[in-house]
């Protein structure tokens, strides 16, 4: 018996040594390596505990004076360590793996946010919430999104109005399959005309976009109609001579990130839709 106890004791000592990453139940010092994570952490009410963010984390306003630790794809390990974080939150969609490996080697606890598709995000929020000790708030946040996800679609698959989401007008870059935007479009009932493009953010053929006659064109952040670039694109995409009355809707970048503004972004999409009419009615 004593031998077993002794062994257990040794094991406990070993496990409590410096090799084991510290596991803080409610981390007080959190570094976020993704804008979506920064926004989510603030939405979970943990803004005070965020001690470091990346240079591209621009929301919310309150985050602006936090210490920057570098970019998303190239954060500075030194800067992160200098902040003595108890938890570093990362995502698979944009952060390099080597940072995760290095942080673990230094014994820093990390939480990796893996969900990429819209349907996986509520689960991811809850996981994050559990990890940072904000499970209840996370649940509320997740529910907001889930409510929208479980709303039954207005149209049968493939029968809704056709849509195109423009990320950048020149060259034309659109939201393709596998993006949050694509998921949101499908959720609301649109048919993304770029769904066969093969990659997430393809350089799309303007010709093809013209031929596929989208019913709605969504213009992403920064591309309102006063912009000459956008005007040129629209002139080519929906030439008035063809008398094709495509609707043009300007939206924000809410759907660009897997953050707390996703529900709002989904609603923005809905506003562009005459939800009563089916495509065949036109």
């Amino acid at each position: 018996m004593p031998l077993v106890l002794a062994r257990l004791l040794v094991l406990a000592l070993l496990l409590s040594g410096p090799l084991r990453p510290a596991w803080a139940e409610d981390p007080e010092r959190i570094v976020s390596l993704a804008p979506a994570m920064t926004e989510t952490l603030f939405a979970l009410g943990l803004g005070e505990k965020v001690v470091g963010i990346t240079s591209v984390c621009d929301r919310p306003e309150a985050a602006r004076d936090k210490v920057r630790v570098g970019g998303m794809s190239n954060p500075s390990l030194e800067s992160i360590l200098a902040l003595k974080p108890e938890l570093v939150v990362m995502t698979t969609d944009g952060n390099p793996k080597y940072i995760a490996d290095q942080l673990q080697r230094f014994g820093i606890a990390i939480h990796v946010f893996t969900p990429r598709r819209l349907s996986e995000i509520p689960g991811g929020i809850r996981e994050l919430g559990a990890r940072v000790g904000a499970a209840e708030t996370a649940d509320i946040l997740a529910r907001k999104l889930e409510n929208l996800l479980t709303t039954p679609p207005r149209f049968a698959a493939g029968e809704g109005p056709k849509a195109l989401f423009v990320i950048w007008p020149e060259p034309l870059i659109v939201a393709g399959p596998g993006t949050l935007i694509d998921d949101a479009l499908t959720l609301v009932g649109y048919v993304n005309i770029a769904a066969d493009a093969g990659t997430a953010y393809p350089r799309f053929s303007v010709e093809e976009a013209l031929r596929r006659k989208p019913d709605v064109i969504f213009l992403g952040l920064g591309h309102d109609r006063d912009n000459p670039r956008t005007q040129r694109l629209l002139q080519r995409l929906v030439p008035p001579e063809l008398g094709h009355p495509g609707r043009i809707v300007t939206v924000s970048d809410a759907l660009y990130r897997a953050g707390p503004r996703l529900p709002g972004g989904i609603v923005e999409l809905s506003s562009g839709q005459n939800l009563g009419a089916k495509r065949s009615d036109r």
């Binding site: 020149e170 060259p171 013209l210 031929r211 694109l233 080519r236 063809l242």
Partner: protein, 318 residues
Amino acid sequence: MKRTRVFLACAAALLLALVSIFFGPRLLNPLALDAESRQILLLLRLPRSAVAFLMGGALGASGLILQGVFRNPLADPYILGLSGGASLAAALGILLAGSLPLPLPLLAFAGALGACALVAALGRGPEGLRPDRLLLGGIGLGFFFSAVLLLLMTLVSDGGLKRTILWMSGDLSSANWELIPGGLALILGGLALALARSKGLNVLGLGDEIAHGLGFNPGRERFFLFIAASLMTAAAVSLGGTVGFVGLLVPHAVRHLVGADAQRALPVSFFGGGTLLCLADSLGRSLAAPLEIPAGVIVALIGAPWFILVLRKKGYGL
């Protein structure tokens, strides 16, 4: 006799370029154009092919000129730091003035021309432009511009900046009719200047002493030819960003086909380069539709293996 061959070659190239206009994600039948196809042809395909032809022609001709001026078969239009200068000018313009006060092509053109002027100043010797100094100046400046550009990209997180760099790396899909008159004037002007000096280009290849012996002023010939190449390249870059490899590849192919006499090789390089880029763009918009593969990628994919083969066979001058 050779003149007619040259004329036929150019005409054939032009014809090929014209035919390529009708290819794309969906084939256009010139005899049966509905309203939509007509719109696509006029608004999208024609300006695009026109820009491709002008760019490819400008780059092909500039490549020939610079390979002659530098007596180096590996010279290409960007050796003078032009693409770096253009990209940097565009990037700075965006940074310093929020939304562009000047259109991007104008900025790119100014940047490219500025880079040329800088290189020319660096390359000046007591008797005009010296090729060795030009080359060193151009390469050095090119590295410098690239470094500054990378620095900007690292420090600034403006998405627009990054996207502009994307445009600078070669985009024919945003071609529109507005750019074409200016580009046409500059490129044809540069070509005319180069053609007027094509004898000078030939004798420069023989070395300065023999060029002098034949009654030419090598420094002056280099100067005018440099201006011609700079104008054409700067215009090409401002029309559709930097498309690599055309300027390197086309002169070699043309010399292989019609010989090295610039009076013949220059026009053929222009038409050949133009057609090449037209065809490459045609393929780029058709192969993976609805995706667009940049024309420069197609040129490199097809051109590089061919280029290596030719080099191994010929070996002259290398």
